[in-house]
Symmetry: C2
Subunit: 272 residues, 2 copies
């Protein structure tokens, strides 16, 4: 259980304080935090709580959304990312997860949006380096290409990261987002030294009505988690294994029970 990390969104109802307590109660050593609940309690207070509890912060979610055209909206997005970098530094987070954003309203220029992501990452790297924070580029399932993330594959994330030091720009391997990729095995091998975060949650069918809440508990779907754990380990990754699940049924359940189920499924489907 020493590598298991609870991403806060898996137990959506819990505040930072409650999630920290829940991890301690369940013997879980790491936590993935989200900016909104962290801001609700204050970044300094959240940093104290996780430090006092002896928890490792496996990630801060999330920066990104940097596909706007040049102008005030883009400037505001970059400024917000700079605040997120500061927050990640204060929390001592392993990385700041970057969900890069979709197409701007009315635009069908996907290549252009992707080029602006590359520019935006370049603009943020000096801030990240000054703060000692690693930006973690998260390829999103192509399902979200239009509205959440134009970064669609691990290879694309690695190409984007390549100009920068691995300590500044890494990649997230989230099973939900990459499991379908026919070249994922080679892409994970290529990620050696750049894997910022390994996240697990399942792909379930039939596909839920709300595409944003379509993730499942490990074992409820179609993904072979051991296979992916071995691939990231073969690429040298030995950090936390973070469980991030957006699912209406889990959010309606007792968070302690969700954590207990997560521990059980982690043992059965990720380890071993």
């Amino acid at each position: 259980m020493d590598r298991l990390s609870l991403n806060q969104r898996t137990t959506e109802r819990w505040s930072v304080a409650e999630a920290v307590d829940g991890c301690v109660r369940a013997g879980i050593g790491s936590i993935g935090l989200w900016r909104e609940p962290v801001q609700s309690c204050g970044v300094a207070a959240a940093a104290r709580m996780v430090a006092d509890a002896g928890l490792r912060v496996s990630s801060l979610c999330r920066g990104g959304f940097i596909t706007a055209f040049p102008g005030p909206e883009r400037d505001a997005a970059l400024d917000d990312n700079r605040r997120a970098i500061e927050e990640a530094a204060l929390l001592g987070a392993d990385c700041l997860v970057m969900v890069v954003g979709g197409l701007p309203p009315g635009s069908r220029d996907l290549a252009g949006a992707r080029a602006r992501v590359a520019d935006g990452i370049g603009a943020l790297v000096p801030d990240a380096e000054a703060a000692g924070v690693q930006l973690a580029l998260e390829p999103m399932h192509p399902l979200y290409c239009a509205d959440r993330g134009v970064l669609s594959t691990l290879d694309q994330a690695l190409d984007l990261a390549a100009p920068f030091a691995p300590s500044s720009v890494g990649v997230v391997v989230d099973t939900f987002h990459v499991w379908w990729d026919p070249v994922v095995e080679a892409a994970i091998a290529r990620s050696a030294g750049r894997i910022s975060s390994f996240q697990v949650c399942d792909w379930i069918t039939p596909f839920p009505a709300d595409a944003l809440l379509s993730r499942g508990m490990m074992g409820d779907g179609h993904i072979d988690f051991r296979y992916f754990r071995r691939l990231v380990e073969a690429a040298g990754y030995d950090g936390p294994i973070e469980v991030e699940i957006f699912n209406a049924d889990l959010w309606a359940a007792d968070p302690d029970e969700v954590v207990a189920l997560m521990r059980k499924r982690y043992e059965e489907h990720v380890l071993g």
Copy 2:
């Protein structure tokens, strides 16, 4: 309008006879047929109808679903594909679209399912060649990897097609399925000589509640159709442009109005 093709599922309520009449009324020169409505009226009768109307059959949908483990289920699937090949030959269809199938129930072995697809295509190619039918491998959006098609990218389809003559095994370029792919430009260039079918429909947001009916009319979503038309043309494709849309709102509308809207949107968003 001479390249526009109506895929029968776009006007789901229409029988083959009604769809043929609808194409003639609208001055549309090609039609994409589906096996079930064709079987409802009889293959020979359908072949006569399209021939009498002077329509080109741009595709027959669909063969595939060949991911079952070796045994009676797989044998039955291959036999069904052989019947589909015969039907495509009788209809004089440009190609038989292959939707390869998802993971078998309970299996998480994606690589194994993909290997069985390759074996299955190999088993069917002699039948296709004997009948003079081109199998058209359709990469499906990764959204459908678990339950409809483990063939997820154009590159993967091209790798699968590579051992066979282009006249026997081609690929489908469907904008809905491939638009997000960061390497699609190179993959379409690589498809030169193997493009069996070019299909258009839009990716719309918010993502509809029924994932199987999530396609939109051209212009209602995020895809740059002119860009894709130019890419397939640069790869030498000058065949029909088939509109295949699964959408509950369109299925509820008057099919003649759907066809009129399709013509208009085709002019505005695909041509020009």
